[in-house]
Structures are given as C-alpha cells and as structure tokens.
C-alpha cells in the first residue's frame, strides 16, 4: 500500500541528490573534505531553518515573500537589543520581531482575505525599509563576542548552526506530524471549506502558520548575524526565493496540502550542494542564480505532469 504517497518522488530526489554529489566529487574532490562539509553545513543551516517556515506558509496554501526582509530586520533589532539589554533579551527580541511580522502577514491574509503573495511582497519592502531606518543604513557593530558563538562556533566538530538546523527540522517535523495544529495545516491546504465545516478555526491556524514562518526568519536572521558578528539591515536579501525553491523542489505543492519535512530537507540539501558544487567548480554566483531559476521552473513543469488524476467526485 502506498501509504507514503510521496515515497516515489522523494526516492527520485534522493537519487538525483546522490548523483549530483558524485558528479561534483569527480569534478572537485575537495567537495567531501571536512572543511568544505563544514562550510556547506553552515550555509545550509540558514536555508534549512528558513525553508521550514516557508513550508508552513505554503502548506496552508499561501507563500511568504517577506522572509528575507524579516531576516534583515531581525538582524538589526537583535543586535541593538543585545547592545541595549544583554544577550538573552536581544536574541529574544529578534525572534519576536519575526513572530510579530509573520502574524501581521497572517492576519492580513486570513482575516482581510488579501492574496498572500501581495501581502508578503509588501511586507518585504516594509520590513526592509524599517530595518534600514533603525540601523541608519549602517551595520550594527561592536557586539559582545558571545554573540558570535551561535553562528561561528561548533561543538564536537560540528558547527552550531547545523545543530540548530537539525533541531528545527525535528521540531517542525513533530509539529507537522504530531500536533493538531500541524495536521490542520494539511487539512486547510487540502480543502479549506471542509476543514471549516469540521470545526477547524481556519483563520487562526493560518495566522499561526505565518507567525511560525516569521519566527523561522527570525531564527535564521540571528544565525546569520551571529556569523557576521553584526546586525546588517540588508541581510537575507533574496533568501525567501531560495527557501521557496527548496520547498518546491522537495515536493510541496504550491496550492497547499502537500509536502513534508523530509522533502524539504532534500530540497535544501539539493540547493546547498548545488551551490557549493558550482562554487568549487568556479562557476560564478551570478550564473548560479540562473541555474536556480531554471531548476525552479523545471520542477514546476515536472510537477504538473507528476500530479495524479484525482478520483474524488
């Protein structure tokens, strides 16, 4: 019985991934060196956290284009917060920023019925603007060295961000599989009307999805800022698109209701290794942008043909 209906596509993805790793390894053996793997790990962690958040937004049938800008704002506020109130409070403030902005997105989308794409697009500009204003256009420097531990340190030879990413995957996976909230995401993404009739509080759940998405951006922002040891208002520009790509490549459906943590993980790994491999092969980052765009479109086309004919009346 094909219980895990995603099984086939995830298997395909895993195979492609392995194939890609081998290809890049042949081109540049240092791909699998400890140093490189560590780099990949750090890079991928940020994307991982972000992709989890984006997955939530996409599962409920929406999308979040503001994640990159929220990262920037979080970066600035966390840095200033650390300077003003100390490490703990500063970091907390950063995540809160993400939650609040995400919730705002969610409310405009569910209670005011505005299209997710437009709302989060506007938030993208709004958050970036606010970030730039607060920072006065300049990075926030002179942060305590403890600030950098999160992003730059490692435990047992594995970079801290990787631990955070793993934790994010585990927690999000748990939420999606084992909480009523998570299951409600799938239900709403599947058929909103039916969910409503079954008593699910659709609006609230949607707000929660976007709030969590914002929170993921907050966390990602903190990791990034920590690595740079400064608060940068321009941080995260364009990362939301990478997150979308990771989620879509990982098999999630843009209309909602389909997709999971496993697929997203594969999607993240795919993008991270692709970028890393291309880097090692001396392909410019500009060309990489082209590649990612093409991959995104191709994935969508394949998805169209992949979708099984529904037999629900």
């Amino acid at each position: 019985m094909a219980r895990r209906f995603n099984f086939n596509s995830e298997l395909t993805m895993a195979i492609i991934l392995i194939g890609m790793i081998l290809l890049f390894f042949v081109i540049q053996p240092s791909l699998l060196s400890g140093q490189n793997l560590e780099n990949v790990g750090r890079q991928a962690s940020v994307l991982s956290v972000l992709a989890c958040g984006q997955l939530f937004a996409i599962l409920v049938g929406g999308i979040d284009l503001s994640l990159g800008s929220i990262i920037g704002l979080t970066s600035v506020i966390a840095a200033k917060g650390v300077l003003a109130w100390g490490l703990g409070w500063g970091l907390l403030a950063g995540i809160l920023v993400g939650v609040v902005l995400g919730a705002t997105n969610g409310m405009l989308i569910s209670y005011y019925r505005m299209p997710a794409m437009i709302v989060t697009l506007a938030m993208l500009y709004f958050a970036r603007g606010i970030a730039l204003i607060i920072a006065g256009g300049m990075p926030v420097e002179r942060l305590p060295s403890a600030f950098g531990i999160l992003g730059k340190g490692s435990m047992l030879g594995i970079p801290n961000p990787v631990f955070i990413a793993i934790a994010a995957f585990v927690v999000c996976g748990f939420v999606l599989k084992f909480t009523r909230l998570g299951r409600a995401f799938y239900a709403i993404g599947g058929v909103e009307e039916t969910s409503y009739l079954a008593g699910i509080r659709v609006e609230r759940v949607k707000v929660a999805a976007y709030a969590l998405s914002g929170a993921s951006a907050g966390l990602a922002g903190i990791i990034l800022s920590s690595r740079l040891s400064s608060g940068q208002p321009n941080l995260g520009d364009g990362l939301e698109f990478e997150a979308i790509a990771a989620v879509v490549i990982g098999g999630a459906r843009l209309g909602g209701g389909k997709g999971g943590i496993r697929g997203t993980l594969l999607g993240v790994l795919f993008l991270a290794i692709l970028a890393n491999g291309l880097n090692l092969a001396r392909v410019s980052s500009f060309t990489q942008m082209i590649v990612i765009g093409c991959v995104l479109i191709i994935t969508m086309i394949v998805d169209r043909f992949r979708a099984p004919a529904s037999r629900v009346a």
């Binding site: 299951r183 239900a187 039916t194 699910i200 389909k258 629900v312």
Partner: protein, 502 residues
C-alpha cells in the same frame, strides 16, 4: 414524534419560486425517499435542512426542538449529516484522519501529540462495528468512489448523526457496491438513524425505501408508504398535468428538411459520454432529455468543441471534423448557449453590444480596430428583433433580467449567422412570460432554417417544442421518441432506465 420535521418551507430565488409551503417529516429508523424531476425542489429542501440555505418561511424541528437559523455547523451539532455527490473529503489525507477531522485524538502527556495509534485503532473498531470495510491508513485520493462514499458515511456516523441525507448515492456505484451500501443502510436503520434518500433509480424505492415523498414544481405532491404505491403512480405524480403538444403543426411540416447539418457516430469524450450517434437536420428541433448527470451538457460541449473528442466521428455540413475547438465551431456556424449563462454564456461586466460582438470580432474588425458604429447598430438591431429590455447597447449585461440576458446570448450567436444552435436549459430561472417569448424565438430560429438541439429537464418543455426527443442515460443514448410517440411516462422511463412499467 418524528425525528425531523420541516413545516411550511418556502424559498424563492429572485423571481423563481423553488419551494412553496412544503411539509416533510422523517421518522426514526426509516429510509425516506425524496423524488422529483430536476428543479422540483429536492436539493433546495435538502440544503435548507442541512443549513446551507435559509428558508424564506417555515420551521424545522429536530427531535421536537426548534432549529432556528440553521448553519452548516449548527445542523451538524444537531446531528444532521449530508453526503453530497461532490464529497467533502480532503483527498491527500488518510481515511482515519478524514473521519476524525478536527478532533484528532491526542495523548495525555504534554505536549499532547496526536495519537496515531489510537486513531487507527478507534477507526478500525468503529468500522467493524458499523460494518464498513476500509483501511484507516489508506489515502482518500486512492480510493474508489464507492469507498470514498463509505468514508463520508463513517464520518457522519462517528459524530452520532441522527439524520443522514444521501444525495444520489448510487449514481456511480456498481451493483455489488450498491448492495453493500444497502446492507449498511439497513444496519443504520436498526440504530434508529433517519435517512433521507434522494435517488432517480425508481427500483431502489422498493428495495430500500420505507416512505416516499414526491415534489413537483416546488410543491409537495404527496407522501406514501413505499409498499402502497406503484411506480407509474409516482411517475404521474412527478410529471403532473397533461401536456399540450399541439400547435405549430403546419410550421413543422414546412420546416422538415433532409439537410443534415451535424452528425456524430460513436462519439465518446473519454469521461462521461460513450458511443453516441446523433443527427441534426436543418429546421429541426431535437429535444435532448435525461436526468442530471446523464451527460447531456457534456455532449453539448463536445459537439461545440469545448471538450475533447476521444473517439468517434463528427461531421458538420458534410465534412469530417478532425480537430475541433470552440473557434472552429464558430467558424462552422455553431452556437452554444450554456446552462450557466451568467458564468459561461456572458461576460457580466461587459455591455450588451460587447457581448453580442464577441464571437464575431472578425466581422467588426477594420485593420485591427473595432468598428464601433457597426457594433452599436448590430446590437440595436437585435435589441429590436428579440425585444431585449435594456436601456441600450451600452448597458452592462449583469443588470438585465434572466430572460433578457438569455436573449443577449442568443443575439450573439445570431450575429455569427449560426445555423446550428445548441440550447442547454435555456429557460431555467426565467419567468413564465419570458419563457413563452423565448419558445417563440426558438421556433422562429428553426423556421429560418437552423438546426436546434434543445436540452431541457422540463418534460413539458421538451414535449411542446421538439420534433423528436432523444433521451440520454448514463452517458449513452437510451432511446428516441418521435412526435407521435410523445408521452411523459415513456420519457421518464427511458431517463430512469425502467425497461417496463406496471
């Protein structure tokens, strides 16, 4: 005391009266069949009971308690569950999750994770108890229609529904699946559940029904015990008064022609219609009858090129047509007035004249620019010819009444010089006077040499207008009646699939 009563229910939609002082009662542990032609008011009544629509007048009581201001959620709380033909399931989730939607069982300890094992166990136990054979982990999308229906029923039963409404449950089931369903329904009866059962399969009444209620034109005709009434009595009740098929005889003879405009052989669309043979001649009005879901609209759309032809031949004006499309049809002078005139027949925010000119843009084109005066004149012309009540060619079509909107749709096709017109339920939602006008217009079209295919669910309309009637059932042609053989009983029996009456 009856389980559910609906008293004096009335409901109108704009000018049309859908229900007129209808009484209905459902007893505990009975299967009450609701019968009537298309448009008789059955689905309106059901929607009112389930809270999807509010009645204009009347009361509903459940278990003696008044049920005011019903909403879908409220009626669910009162124990009313409706299972429509379009299922209310989430296709990518499992059976168990659909049944327990919104109330997934969780474990005691914090963080109260969803208890999948318990859900599976409970579902299995429940299925066994009720007699349904389903795998709780199966994904709904992969199930057959019959199995999905079972999930819906399980869903209803698991929330202790007292009243279950089934809308055409057996329409798409095999014989074996139907008998499994009936066994289940009988078990439900024993538990005291009341079932409202809408069906067009008259033989099922004997098999499973306890009582029968017939609606006609929004009014209650009668309620009988299933054993006390004969099938032809029921058909009579559904159809009603004798039908006038006189008049227009002379014109009919004049119109007869052998010029076949459209012909299909073994037509299939891969979805609904199978193996259809049909010929439409100049000046002829062919009525297309059958029940909802018989495939009439699908046939019309395929003839017009809106849906793909998978097998069979199509000949128009004697020429074989290989790749068909809407534009192709328009070139070949076929016009199609869809069932849903507001969302498919017209562009509501467009003006009268813009709607009329849309299929004929080529005609009004002058190097790409629209010849606006010509467009205006054409619209004025049709406003006059068809007596369209409007303030002028520039008025937005959404402001017109149903009858006048339909005239605009027709004008659009007359503008293309169509000599083959397909009308899909053209007089639905139009008041009596406008209907008469429209009948005259259709006749006029035929007199002028158009071939007309008239799809209608109103037996009286078909009998009055058609030269011959073709009846469809379940995607195929069930039979054809010539004018001399017109008889409502025969029509309905062809539509329902009764091979013999009495």
């Amino acid at each position: 005391m009856p389980l559910l009563t609906a008293k004096d229910i009335s409901k109108s939609f704009f000018a049309t009266c859908a229900l007129d002082n209808v009484d209905f009662a459902l007893e505990r542990g009975e299967i009450h069949v609701l019968l009537g032609q298309n448009g008789a008011g059955k689905s309106t009544l059901i929607k009112i009971i389930s809270g999807a629509i509010r009645p204009d007048a009347g009361t509903i009581t459940v278990d003696g308690k008044d049920a005011e201001h019903l909403t879908p959620i409220k009626s669910k709380l009162l124990g009313i569950a409706t299972i429509y033909q379009e299922f209310n399931l989430i296709p990518d989730l499992s059976v168990a999750e659909n049944v327990f939607l919104g109330r997934l069982p969780t474990k005691e300890r914090w963080p109260h994770p969803v208890d999948w094992r318990k859900m599976r166990k409970d579902a299995r136990a429940f299925f066994e108890q009720v007699g349904i054979a389903l795998d709780p982990d199966a994904i709904v999308r992969t199930l057959s229609i019959a199995e999905q229906q079972l999930v819906e029923i399980a869903k209803a039963l698991s929330v202790d529904a007292k009243v279950i409404i089934l809308d055409e449950p057996t329409a798409t089931l095999t014989r074996r699946e139907i008998s499994a369903l009936f066994t289940l329904l009988k078990k439900m009866k024993k538990r005291g559940i009341g079932i409202i059962y809408i069906s067009h399969r008259l033989e099922e009444i004997e098999q499973i029904g306890d009582r029968v209620t017939v609606l006609r034109d929004g009014k209650l005709v009668g309620t009988w015990n299933a054993g006390d009434v004969q099938i032809n009595e029921l058909i009579n009740a559904m159809v009603g008064r004798a039908v006038d098929s006189t008049g227009n005889e002379d014109i009919r003879h004049q119109r007869k022609s052998d010029d076949v405009i459209l012909e299909v052989r073994n037509l299939s669309d891969g979805r609904r219609i199978k193996d259809v043979n049909l010929q439409l001649r100049r000046g002829e009005i062919v009525g297309l009858g059958g029940l909802v879901g018989a495939g009439r609209t699908e046939l019309a759309r395929t003839l017009f090129g809106a849906d793909k032809i998978v097998a069979g031949e199509l000949r128009i004006h004697g020429n074989n047509v290989t790749s068909h499309s809407c534009r192709n049809s328009i070139e070949l002078r076929i016009g199609f007035l869809p069932e849903d005139r507001k969302s498919e027949g017209l562009l509501l925010n467009f003006s009268v004249k813009n709607n009329i000119s849309l299929p004929s843009l080529k005609h009004f084109n002058w190097f790409g620019f629209m010849r606006r005066t010509a467009e205006n004149d054409a619209a004025q012309d049709y406003i006059g010819k068809l007596q369209i009540k409007t303030t002028g060619p520039n008025q937005e079509v959404r402001l017109l009444s149903g009858g006048n909107q339909q005239k605009v749709v027709l004008a659009k096709w007359l503008q293309t010089n169509a000599d083959m017109l397909i009308f899909d339920e053209p007089t639905r939602g139009i008041d009596v006077a406008a209907k008469e006008e429209f009948y005259k217009i259709i006749l006029e079209c035929a007199v002028r040499g158009a071939a007309v295919l008239l799809i209608s669910s109103e037996v009286t309309e078909l009998i009055r207008m058609s030269d011959r009637i073709v009846v469809m059932r379940e995607g195929r042609i069930a039979g054809e009646l010539d004018r001399s053989e017109f008889d409502p009983e025969r029509l309905l029996s062809l539509a329902f699939g009764q091979s013999s009456l009495q």
